[in-house]
């Protein structure tokens, strides 16, 4: 028997990421200044991003795929890390949890996401998912003296474990039916043996959809999200609302559009009600929130609903629109969370919507940034949020789901109400209390990057759209 060394080149980013993450974790022992670790983390992911270009290829007999699709998501994950770290530096000090493991866990979680996006096999997918999820559970409960943070971690963990079980169950059924866990081979087997309409296959598909819906917080599997988002450290809320969600969409696209494409009518029939419910519940419940983190949690649920439209479309354009949207969402959502974090100072939580009263008087610049992010989340041009939604809607209409898009735009108009409420509090009310803000250079940098992203993609989306469009074969 001969052992052939598999081609490791497609794995370069992941290997590099693993090494660097371990080094970051170890460096905590010797480096006393945690800011240095933050800087190192950013440099690490930047270095990883540089290896993306030359890593394209398939290895381990198709178990691991490094293509435009996975690397586009990789860019989103890297961006997510950079922005999260930038907004964390001062914040975790204020929360008195300034530990080095924080950055290590973020990197491990991101490694998991990258593996998920590249998974060509259900087992690899599961590995990535668990690595991502376990790291994120710990991060959610990182403020260990705070009972709310503990609750967030606990809920997230229990429901996440539940979702993993669904995923495994679905995987085992697929394996039982097709004898393979390779995503491409599954599609081939289904086609070859005419398994379309097989109830067991449909059940497996439903189990997959349920598991992914947990990850992207789609209704009715969203129950964990508001509590987890509210209780987790705000920087981690920003992290969780972008990274795991994008990773969820990445595997969803891969499994549904590659592996289960032959039963597309079935899964789109399951996804359409989920998407509509997600947009509906997310937007309508957000209307009545008084805590801004909870509001953004529901808003994040609603945005998953919009993004599902791209998956439902089931075309290359549809997936490109999802990728595009996730990138844009990373900018605008982390931008909004950055503003929230700036209101958090020693002894002041600053996460009630009323804390924003008259912010335009006391901190005009900050208020105007929040204004841009809120309008972008609403989807008003010329911000990136509009371009993202437009692409999603366009691909869904193109796939023949015009009626779903009509429902989506109505909910999107409803969402204007709660985003505008923040603007209204900032600009149209007088300040009731003196609100201090915590500034830091890294925070300013994060805000500059997110603002630039939101405006630049809003005004000149051509290159990003092109990149997303060519990513999926």
């Amino acid at each position: 028997m001969q052992f052939v060394m598999p081609d490791l080149r497609p794995l370069t980013p992941e290997i590099l990421m693993t090494v660097l993450s371990l080094l970051i974790l170890l460096s905590d022992l010797v480096i006393k200044r945690k800011e240095t670790i933050a800087l190192l983390s950013i440099l690490s992911v930047a270095a990883v991003a540089f290896t993306f270009r030359d890593s394209l290829g398939v290895t381990f007999n198709g178990m691991f795929i490094s293509d435009g699709y996975s690397r586009f998501f990789g860019i989103i994950f890297v961006l997510n890390v950079i922005l999260t770290v930038l907004i964390s530096v001062k914040y975790i000090g204020i929360e008195r949890v300034n530990f080095g493991e924080y950055y290590g866990l973020i990197l491990f979680s991101t490694l998991g996401m990258m593996i998920m996006a590249s998974a060509g096999d259900l087992i690899v997918l599961y590995l990535g998912l668990e690595l991502m999820a376990l790291s994120t559970y710990i991060l959610a409960g990182f403020i260990r003296y705070d009972i709310k943070s503990n609750e967030a971690a606990m809920k997230y963990f229990l429901l996440g474990a539940f979702a993993s079980a669904f995923l495994l169950y679905g995987t085992s059924m697929i394996y039982g039916l097709t004898g393979t866990t390779n995503i491409k081979a599954i599609a081939g087997y289904i086609l070859l043996h005419g398994l379309m309409g097989n109830p067991a296959l449909t059940l497996a598909m439903v189990l997959f959809v349920v598991a992914f819906s947990f990850k992207i917080a789609a209704v009715p599997f969203h129950m964990w999200a508001p509590d987890a988002y509210e209780g987790a450290p705000t920087s981690i809320t920003a992290f969780m609302s972008v990274g795991p969600k994008a990773a969820g969409f990445a595997v969803m696209g891969r499994v549904l559009l590659d592996g289960l494409y032959p039963i597309r009518p079935e899964w789109s029939a399951v996804l359409i009600p989920i998407a509509i419910l997600t947009m509906g519940v997310g937007n309508i419940v957000a209307l009545s929130q008084t805590n801004i983190k909870r509001m953004l949690a529901y808003s994040s649920i609603a945005h998953a609903g919009y993004a599902l439209l791209g998956v439902i479309a089931g075309t290359a354009d549809g997936l490109a629109s999802v990728m595009n949207y996730m990138l844009i969402y990373a900018f605008m959502n982390i931008g909004a969370f950055a503003v929230i974090i700036m209101l958090r100072t020693e002894g002041f939580k600053g996460d009630n919507i009323t804390d924003y009263e008259g912010l335009s008087k006391t901190h005009p610049l900050l208020a105007s940034l929040m204004l841009v992010f809120m309008f972008s989340l609403t989807g008003i041009p010329p911000t990136a949020g509009f371009m993202g939604k437009f692409y999603l809607f366009m691909s869904a209409v193109n796939a023949g789901y015009t009626w779903v898009v009509i429902i989506a735009v109505i909910f999107s108009a409803i969402s204007a109400y709660f985003y505008l409420r923040i603007v209204m509090y900032m600009y149209m009310k007088d300040p009731k209390q003196e609100v201090a803000i915590s500034t830091s250079p890294s925070m300013s940098l994060a805000l500059a990057i997110t603002l630039f992203g939101v405006i630049a993609i809003g005004v000149l989306p051509a290159s990003v759209v092109h990149l997303a469009r060519i990513a999926f074969p």
Binding site: S360, P364, F375, I380, P381, P382, F386, F390, F393, M394, V397, N398, T402, V405, I406, V409, I410, S412, A413, A416, Y417, L420, V423, M424, Y427, M428, L460, P461, A462, V465, H466, R469
Partner: protein, 512 residues
């Protein structure tokens, strides 16, 4: 595919008009908040420069053709075949000029009345100007939508931050109404785009043919956006709140330009792109127009708030505009477009005038006024000009527009013409009664001793007076711009784009 005229001027004039104000707004960001005087003067200079730059449009416009002029075209998002293309024809040119003029007046009238967040106010104003001009110049449906929506943000702030006591409610209502309409249009735009072979080019879209069923759906999708903006009955209810609560400049912009966008949308998109559906829906549109005319007028009679009364009169006047447009003949349509300009001038002027007196008394209740004519004679004489123009007295611009519309409406449907004419009578009733209650009768304590208008305020109103008589006495200066474009549009609607130019010419003969 139509031949598109290229730019006859040496520089991209339309882009300059759109982005100069925006650049001005960006520059304002750099001026310190405390330099209020500098901010105001800078904004004024910016708006005057923009206006001056827009003047060559007026003089260099070629009235002998219907094709787009001053065209600029650049690839913007190649993946979706979206171009940055601007251009104007006889339908849009007047609105561009109106926009650049109105902003100057808005700056002048806000000079002393805006005291808080001065910098933000003028930034919003300049951004609004850029977006407004963009809406009228865009030749790409996607670009049009961008400007159309981008306008909402500063307008929402304008109403909500600097408005009256009930401003937040009015601002949110304005925003949500418009947004719901717009997003439905967005779906329509996407459907159209995909059907037409992935193009957003307005000129190209309006030469293609679409299945009748699809046209009907699209017509109502566009209707959702345009009718809310116009506003047509029964989706007009945001307008009284927004007009009333907005600061003077906001009301003027809303009345003079913003609500014109709805009617412009019908002219630019619904009619040429969906000719068959438009024709089929004419009865419904005429009925809604007539309801707006009469219902808006009657409601005016019951108003006790100055601005609210003028706001409802807008509903009535815009009813005339949509009536003229959907009469689908040359007289009606030209009357409709002219009346849009007229309404912009007259209602804009009325809101400016109300702003003048509101700055002094800080009340909008008609009952708080009385005998203003004896205190502010100059003001009273200007106001009567606007009142008479609003009623449509011959030799003012209102007469020309309403006459053409009723003529066109009568040709299309006799009942529509007759009922619309009664609207004029109601109009005379509420406007003259308003004038009587405010300016005559006993002098109210609250207005005693007010100073008459100062130079700045006169400057803000004078251009409107000149325009009222100019259009009233010699409308051809302005109608001349539209003849060719309107003719072309009518041919397109009546033939549904089926025929070649030969049939088109015959039909023009028949119409004449």
């Amino acid at each position: 595919m139509e031949q598109v005229m290229t730019n006859s001027l040496g520089f991209p004039i339309l882009s300059t008009l759109v982005f100069l104000p925006v650049a001005g707004a960006a520059f304002l960001l750099l001026i310190p908040r405390s330099e209020e005087k500098l901010i105001k003067w800078f904004t004024l200079a910016m708006s005057v420069i923009t206006f001056v730059i827009s003047l060559p449009l007026f003089t260099r416009f070629d009235k002998t053709t219907h094709v787009m002029q001053f065209v600029e075209r650049h690839a913007w998002i190649p993946a979706w075949n979206i171009n940055y293309s601007l251009g104007i024809d006889g339908i849009s040119i007047l609105f561009v000029l109106l926009s650049t003029l109105v902003i100057i007046l808005c700056v002048l009238i806000s000079w002393n009345s805006i005291k808080t967040k001065v910098k933000e106010f003028y930034i919003s104003l300049l951004i609004i100007e850029g977006a407004m001009i963009g809406v009228f110049c865009a030749l790409d449906f996607f670009l049009f939508y961008i400007f159309w929506e981008a306008m909402l943000i500063p307008m929402y702030l304008l109403i909500g931050v600097w408005g009256g006591p009930n401003r937040v409610y009015a601002a949110v209502k304005f925003f949500l109404y418009t947004l719901v309409g717009s997003v439905l249009m967005l779906v329509g735009i996407i459907v159209l785009y995909l059907y037409a072979g992935r193009t957003f080019d307005i000129v190209e879209l309006s030469t293609k043919m679409y299945p009748y069923d699809m046209q009907l759906w699209l017509f109502w999708a566009f209707f959702a956006a345009f009718a809310v903006k116009v506003p047509m009955f029964p989706v007009h209810t945001w307008l009284p709140d927004a007009h009333t609560e907005a600061p003077t400049a906001g009301s003027v912009i809303l009345a003079a330009v913003l609500i014109k966008m709805g009617a412009y949308g019908f002219l630019r998109f619904s009619l040429p792109i969906l000719p068959e559906a438009s024709k089929a829906m004419t009865p419904a549109m005429l009925i809604l127009s007539v309801i707006a005319i009469i219902y808006g007028g009657i409601i005016c009679l019951a108003q006790t708030d100055l601005k609210r009364l003028i706001a409802y009169s807008s509903v009535s006047h815009m009813g005339f505009v949509t009536l003229g447009i959907f009469a689908l003949n040359i007289q009606g349509m030209e009357g409709g477009i002219l009346q849009m300009v007229n309404h912009g001038i007259v209602t804009g002027a009325l809101f400016l005038s109300v702003g003048v007196i509101y700055d002094r008394t800080h009340t909008r209740q008609i009952a708080d006024y009385g005998g203003v004519a004896s205190v502010m004679p100059l003001y009273a004489s200007l106001f009567i000009v606007f009142t008479l123009a609003a009623i449509g007295l011959p030799s003012t611009n209102g007469f020309v527009g309403e006459f053409l519309i009723i003529l066109g409406g009568f040709t299309a449907n006799q009942w529509a013409g007759v009922l619309a004419a009664t609207g004029i009578i109601i109009g005379a009733g509420y406007m003259l009664w308003l004038y009587q209650r405010v300016f005559f009768m006993e002098t109210n304590q609250k207005v005693a001793g007010l100073s008459d208008m100062d130079g700045r305020e006169i400057m803000a109103l004078l251009p409107m007076v000149i325009l009222i008589f100019w259009i009233g006495v010699y409308p051809d200066t302005f109608l001349g711009f539209m003849h060719k474009s309107v003719e072309h549009l009518i041919v397109r609607v009546n033939t549904g784009g089926v025929s070649g130019p030969a049939i088109a010419r015959n039909i023009i003969e028949v119409i004449r």
